[in-house]
Every structure is written in C-alpha cells, then in structure tokens.
C-alpha cells in the first residue's frame, strides 16, 4: 500500500504555468481596466480588484470550510471520513495563505489603493448619511481589528488540528489524549466559526453593497463555501484514487461524500431561495435594491438564474440515485459544474456592486481564476505530500476502514 503521495513534477509545473497565467492576467487586467462611460468618478480599476476579491474569497472559503468540516468530524464523533482525513487536512492547509491574502486585500482597501468598499472612502462617507450610521461597525480600527482576529484564530486552529494529527501519527496517541483534545478544540472552533462565518461575510462581501442588509446573508454564504469545500475534497480523493493511491477509501465513504454534496446543495438552494423569496415577496425598497440591481438594472439575470438552476437542478437530477453517488465520473462531472456554479454565486455577490452593468467574463476573469487555482492546487498538494495519506493511531480508523453502507 503506497501511503506517500509524491507531487508529480508535471503537475507541479502545470500549477506554475497556471500561476504564471494568473500573474499575466492580473497585469494585463489591471492595465486594460479603464473606467467605462458613466462610471468615471467611482471607477478605479474596479474590474481588476473585484476579480481579486472574488478569487481571494472563493478559495479562502474552501480552506475555511474544510477546516470547519474537519472540526465537525471531531465534534460529532464521526468515523466514516477518517480514511479521507488527510485529504480534508490538505485542503484546509490553504486557509492560512488564503486568509492572509484576504487580509492584504483589506489593508490595501484601507490604504485607499482600491475602492471596492465604499465605506473606506472618507469622501463617500461624508455625503452618505446611511453609511455614516454604519461606521461604528465599519470604521477602520474595529473593521481591521476584527479581520485580524478572524484570520489569526482560524489559521491558528487549522495549524493546531494539523499539528496534532501529525503528532498522533509519529508519537502514538495513548488513551487517545490527542484525539480528545482535538475534540475539545473542535467544539471551541465551531463556536468561533459559527459567529465569524457570518460576520466575515457581512464584513467582506455584504458591505460592498453598503446600503443593503440581509440577516440570512451569513448563513447563505456559509452554505456556499461548505459545498465548494466538499466538492474539492471529493475531487481530490477521486483524483488520488485514479492515480492508484488511497485504495483503503471504501466505495461507501465515496458514497457518503456524495450524499453530503447532495445534501449541502439542497441546503444552499434552500437558503438562497428563502432569502430571495422573502425579499422579492415584500418588495421593500431598502432590501429589494440588491435583487433589483442584479435582475433589472445591471443585467445579471441570466447569470443569477443560471447559477441558481445549476446549483440546484444539477445535483438534484444527477445525484439522486445511489449508483450516481458511487460513480467517480458522475461525481467529477457534477462536482465541476457545481463548483463553476458557486464561482458565479460569488460573482453575482461581488460584481454588480463593483462594476455595475459593465460585467465581463474574459481573459482577466479566467486568467485570474486560473492563477488562484494554480496556487491553491500547489499548496494543497504540497501539504498532501508532507504526510502519509492515511492517519495512524486514530480511534475511529478501524471503523472507517471497514465502513460499508
């Protein structure tokens, strides 16, 4: 049984190529990003910066939700996923880097380098009474202080889980002391995450439409990051299996991962629909502006409904049957489509506020996504190669190896 993953050179090169494309896309995107007619006053390379935020958040969220999923396994005493624990851990390893980039992006905003967040511009705030009312929360010191706390605590927990997991491998875990302390830390992390997953999405995404608010927004964003992280975990596991690794992962474990993908797709759909329906139904001006902009004013109707049906109908139709959830080809196909769907989910959250109707989907978008993808894959696979693919001395290992449903 081959328990050591070697990051193939060809793949490594491919990630570098992707990162190179990303870098070129950033430079070209920045230079060619001129203010469109009618937006001259408020446009400061917004397309470029919005893309940077989109990719930064999208990939960071995968690492964050993977850490959440890992913590959830500990806290819920779940055994079935123990055989893929190293994959979950590897995906979570992107969190410190992704969150670091996020922090950098916010610092640049506070320094006035970009104008994605209206409330960071004192000129705008001076003339906007509504935003003035929110400055107690969005003011720079509290805003940045919070952001640093999120990033440091999330990353700290991620490193802690990883370190303890490797510790148990190397030094054994008599009486499962390490496991139980991970369980305790997981519970604490979940509490922290429960609050900060909402607040971070208000701070970093909802606040771009500074006037707008929705109490559901945090949970809705969270469900989107959860499903993307699950798909990443599934795709990576299937890839490793296809390369001859991880034969110890049973078909039932794959099936269970497929069930999660199915279930969380529904959770996302439920939260998206309820938020939309309640706002559409009551049609109150202060709330409906968000959807009015997207559906009528700025012409995102096709993208919004397209991604809604992709993220809802695809998993529903394709993953309903048991066999589909055990079929690598099916899971990969549906997984990639939903990931694309969730990219456009985040796209519709950010772009309308940043560039209004001047939306694009061109080299800047694709190239920058490719660049971040390259970075993400590089970090995840490098971390995967650093530890054996199967945990040792884990109390649920035997249960998971014999898992069958």
């Amino acid at each position: 049984m081959n328990l050591t993953y070697t990051f193939p050179d060809r793949l490594k090169k491919a990630t570098f190529v992707l990162m190179g494309i990303g870098l070129i896309a950033m430079i070209v995107g920045f230079i060619t990003d001129h203010a469109p007619e009618g937006m001259e006053d408020h446009y400061h390379h917004n397309r470029f910066w919005a893309n940077l935020l989109l990719n930064t958040f999208f990939f960071m969220a995968i690492g964050l939700a993977a850490t959440f999923f890992l913590a959830l396994q500990y806290a819920a005493e779940a055994a079935w996923a123990t055989t893929v624990k190293r994959v979950i851990e590897a995906v979570s390893c992107y969190l410190p880097i992704g969150a670091g980039i996020m922090l950098l992006f916010l610092i640049l905003g506070e320094l006035g380098v970009h104008h994605i967040y209206e409330f960071m511009d004192p000129e705008v705030v001076k003339h906007d009474e509504l935003i003035q009312g929110k400055m107690g929360y969005l003011g720079p010191i509290f805003f940045m202080g919070r952001a640093i706390v999120y990033v440091v605590v999330w990353s700290g927990f991620q490193r802690l889980f990883r370190k303890r997991s490797l510790d148990a491998d190397l030094n054994g875990d008599s009486n499962h002391v390490i496991h139980f302390s991970n369980m305790k830390s997981a519970a604490i992390f979940l509490v922290f995450f429960g609050v900060t997953s909402s607040t971070c999405s208000w701070d970093w995404i909802m606040s771009i439409d500074t006037h707008w608010f929705s109490t559901m927004f945090g949970w809705y964003t969270f469900s989107g990051m959860w499903i993307t992280a699950l798909i990443t975990i599934i795709l990576l596991t299937l890839h490793l299996k296809s390369q001859g690794y991880m034969e110890f992962v049973t078909e039932s474990t794959i099936h269970d991962l497929g069930k999660w993908m199915f279930a969380i797709s529904f959770l996302w759909t439920y939260l998206f629909f309820m938020q939309f329906m309640l706002i559409w139904y009551t049609n109150m001006p202060e709330e409906v502006s968000y959807y009015y902009d997207r559906l009528h004013e700025f012409g995102y109707r096709g993208i919004l409904w397209g991604m809604f049906f992709t993220n809802f109908a695809f998993p529903m139709l394709f993953l309903m049957s048991r066999d589909a959830k055990r079929n690598a080809g099916f899971l990969t196909f549906v997984g990639i489509i939903i990931t694309a769907g969730h990219y456009f989910d985040v796209y519709t959250m950010i772009m309308p506020a940043a560039v209004h109707e001047h939306k694009h989907f061109g080299f800047t978008e694709i190239g920058m996504f490719a660049g971040f993808l390259g970075l993400f894959v590089f970090i995840v696979l490098s971390n995967l190669a650093k530890a054996p693919l199967l945990v040792k001395n884990h109390p649920y290992l035997d249960e998971s190896l014999h898992h069958s449903t």
């Binding site: 009551t282 249960e399 069958s404």
Partner: protein, 459 residues
C-alpha cells in the same frame, strides 16, 4: 464486516438477550397501570377537559372571548400554534435525519419522539382551526371549487402554504411512525395471551411475518420515508416562519427567519423529548436503554441548536441597527426595553444563556438538572414566539393603534387544555404501544451493547 470503535460507549448498558428486550418493552402493555399513572392521567385528563370546555365556549360565543384585540390580533393562539409545531419537530428529526446520519442512539428514543410529534401537531392544529373565528367553515382553507361557498384560496398567502406544509408533515410523520410500529406490534401479537388483545394487535401488525423479504421492504420504506421527511423537517417550520417574514411588519420581516425557526424548533422539540423521556425511563424501568449517554447526546443537540438560535437573535438585533432603518431599529428596541421587556429577558435567558451551562459535562450528564433545564427551554421557546408576536403587534407603525394585550381565562384554558391533551395521549400511548422501537434496538445489540463491548475487549 462492521466495526465499532472501542471509545464509543455502550448504548445498552446491562447484558440483555433479544428476549429480555421484548420482555422489557411489553411489560407496561401487559401489566395494569399503577397508581402514579392514574394520578398523572387524571390530572392531564381534567386539564384536557377544561380545555375542551374553553374551546366549546370559544366556538359558541366567538373569539371575542380571547384577549386578542384590534391591534394585537394574533396573540396566544399563534404563539401556541408555533410552539406546538416546533415541539413536533424533534420526532421527525430523530427518526429521519438521525437515521440518515446513522446515529445508533436514536433507536432508544425515536418511537416516543415520533409519538410526541403526532400529538404536538394535533395540539397545534387546534389553534389553527380555532383562530379563524368560524371553525365550521375551516374547510375553506382547502382549495375547493367556488360552488362550495368560498372563493378559490389565495395561493400567494403563506397561511395557505402552512395548510399544505403542516398537513403533509402530519401525514408523513404518521406513516413513518406507523411503519416503524409494525414489527413491534407483531412482537406484541406473538406474546399476547388474551384473545381480544391478540386480535387487535394482529390487525395492527398488518400480517407481519418477520421473513427476510418483510425486513428488506421495511428497511427500504424506512429509507425512502426518511428521505421524504428530511426536507419536511425544514419546510414546515420555514413556512411557519414565512407567516411572519413575508409581511412588511418591522421585526417580522427578516430573511434569517426560516433557518432560525427550524433551529428553534429542533431546540424546543429536544427539550420536550427530554422532559418526557426522563420521566418515562424511570416509570417504565427503561434506564438500561435510555442511558445517561443518550441524555448527554440530546443535551449536546440542545447546546448546538440553542447556540444557533442565539446567533440568529444577535444577528437580527445587530442587523436591525446596521440597516439604518429606524422602524426596524425601534422594533427591536421595543422588544428588549418596551412594555414586554420581561418576556424578551425570559427568552434570552432561557434559550441562549441557560443551554450554555451544558458545556460542563457534569451538568449535562446530571439527570435532575437536565430535567429542570428541559422545562426552562420549553418556557423560553414559548416566550420566543410570544416576543415575536405580541410586543410587535402592540407597537405598530401607527401610535394611535398601540395597545396592550393580556390573555383571558379562555386563552389560558385552551393552552392548558392542549398540554392536558398532549399528556393524556402520551400516557395512553405509553400503555398500549411499544415505547421503544424494539425491533430496531435489537439491531444494535451486536455492535453497541455492553456484552458485545466486553466480548470484543477479550480478543
């Protein structure tokens, strides 16, 4: 081959053979009720009858006998409706969602939780039926052709969605519950000696033979029903929440309502399951099946859902400030500091602060304390619905229509009546139905019972 980790605690804590389990479950059905049962039953039944009296008085006189008035036109009726529907949630969650999550500890508690669901939904239905004012015309709630006297129902109204959601939930829960009961009824049928009882259980058990084919179909239908019920766990309370959230009333219209109502429903449902089971395990000597570990798991569900509800409360509170909408801000200020501040304080204390005590293992494994807490949570969740409804309606946009609300003896009477009905039905259920899903419980003897755990340790 199935494996179970050594660190998992046993779920049946005394050595029991299959036949011991059957004996333990059938004992309350075969024996005569004791004096305690009669006492509790009598009290419940009297309360139930008192409720029926108030109900008849309401129907005979009109809902003017309630405390509801022009401003506060929804009050105890809808508070009680939502409270009962919420309590009804845990049954389906335990039987469906925990089945999908393969939680073995659900086996000991799902039967009574499902029974509780059915009875709670019945109690909730009483308030829906009554609050229309003319309950004899309640069939107008259904989409009937116009010549029946009503106009075609308004499909845009969440109140109609409620009719569909609650009736679907009730029927699916009932089918789920009954399906699970069939093998257990068959076990009782086989052990009954009295001809009349034997005859009844024969009919109830639908000719169950215990062949492999029967079991295969049983497993399949359970899984299908679990799959159908899981979306229902979400839909029912989400739709109940839209009764409020689709309005433009400040404090009612907030997008987090659907998932937050679902979390709250599970929270209150588990509290009621704990209230009932902690008594039942003692009265029927089921301590070996419903163990401290089971109670601990339920308490953990209480912490999780209580915290989710807490996050939702704080989200609402925060966003109302953040929104900059002064009506929204006032609505929440009024809840917290207005004339009904004490209800808000009760809600916050009971639902958000008190469950946090369960972070201490000593307390979440303490049965007496858990019982006390389950009552606290039930009270808190009643106040949550009261806080949403009454303080909001007594301070609407137009200050000239501001007024206070206080319940009449009829409001109180009907509410007490539903509690009486709930306990009456549950006590009857406990005498003639198998209170633990023994057939399912037997399926974990070879993985999670004490003798298996010990046997495994020798290897």
């Amino acid at each position: 081959m199935h494996k179970e980790s050594a660190i998992r605690e046993p779920l049946i804590i005394v050595e029991k053979s299959y036949s011991d389990i059957s004996d333990d479950i059938i004992r309350p059905i075969k024996s005569k009720p004791n004096r305690q049962w009669w006492i509790v039953f009598t009290i419940s039944f009297v309360a139930f009858m008192w409720g029926i009296g108030c109900l008849a008085y309401t129907i005979g006189t009109g809902i003017g006998v309630w405390g509801s008035n022009n401003g506060v036109d929804w009050a105890w009726d809808i508070t009680n409706f939502v409270w009962w529907i919420g309590i009804g949630h845990a049954g389906t969650l335990i039987s469906a969602v925990l089945l999908l999550f393969r939680q073995k500890w659900r086996m000991a508690i799902n039967r009574s939780a499902e029974a509780m669901t059915i009875f709670a939904v019945m109690c909730a239905a009483i308030f829906v039926v009554l609050h229309t004012g003319r309950p004899w015309l309640d069939y107008w709630l259904f989409p009937l052709p116009n010549q029946f006297g009503s106009l075609w129902v308004n499909f845009n109204s969440p109140l109609l969605w409620d009719v569909f959601a609650v009736s679907t939930y009730f029927s699916v829960s009932l089918v789920f519950w009954y399906t699970g009961l069939i093998p257990d009824f068959a076990m009782i049928r086989d052990r009954m000696t009295k001809p009349m009882a034997k005859k009844i259980y024969t009919i109830l058990s639908f000719g169950w033979s215990g062949r492999a084919k029967d079991w295969q179909r049983f497993e399949e239908v359970s899984l299908v029903l679990a799959g159908l019920s899981t979306p229902l766990v979400f839909s029912v309370h989400s739709i109940v929440s839209t009764d409020f959230a689709t309005s433009v009333v400040p404090g009612w219209h907030t997008t987090i309502f659907p998932p937050y109502f679902v979390a709250g429903a599970i929270f209150s449902g588990f509290a009621m399951v704990l209230t009932l089971l902690l008594i039942m395990r003692k009265v029927f000597n089921l301590e070996h099946y419903i163990t401290v570990k089971h109670v601990e798991y339920m308490n953990i569900v209480i912490i999780v859902t209580g915290s989710l509800v807490g996050i939702a409360y704080l989200t609402e509170l925060f966003i109302s400030w953040y929104s900059g909408v002064e009506y929204e801000q006032y609505a929440f200020l009024n809840r917290a500091t207005g004339p009904y501040w004490w209800a808000y304080a009760a809600m916050m204390t009971c639902n958000v602060l008190s469950p946090q005590i369960f972070w201490f293992k000593k307390l979440r494994t303490n049965l007496a304390f858990t019982f006390f807490m389950s009552i606290v949570v039930n009270i808190g969740m009643w106040f949550e619905r009261f806080v949403i409804i009454v303080p909001t309606l007594c301070r609407t946009h137009l200050p000239s229509s501001w007024n206070m609300y206080s319940p009449t003896f009829v409001d109180v009477g009907i509410f007490i009546g539903t509690i009486g009905m709930f306990f009456t039905f549950f006590l009857l259920f406990a005498r003639v139905f198998p209170v633990i899903a023994q057939a399912e419980l037997k399926s974990i003897v070879k993985s999670s019972s004490i003798q298996y755990k010990k046997g495994n340790a020798h290897h």
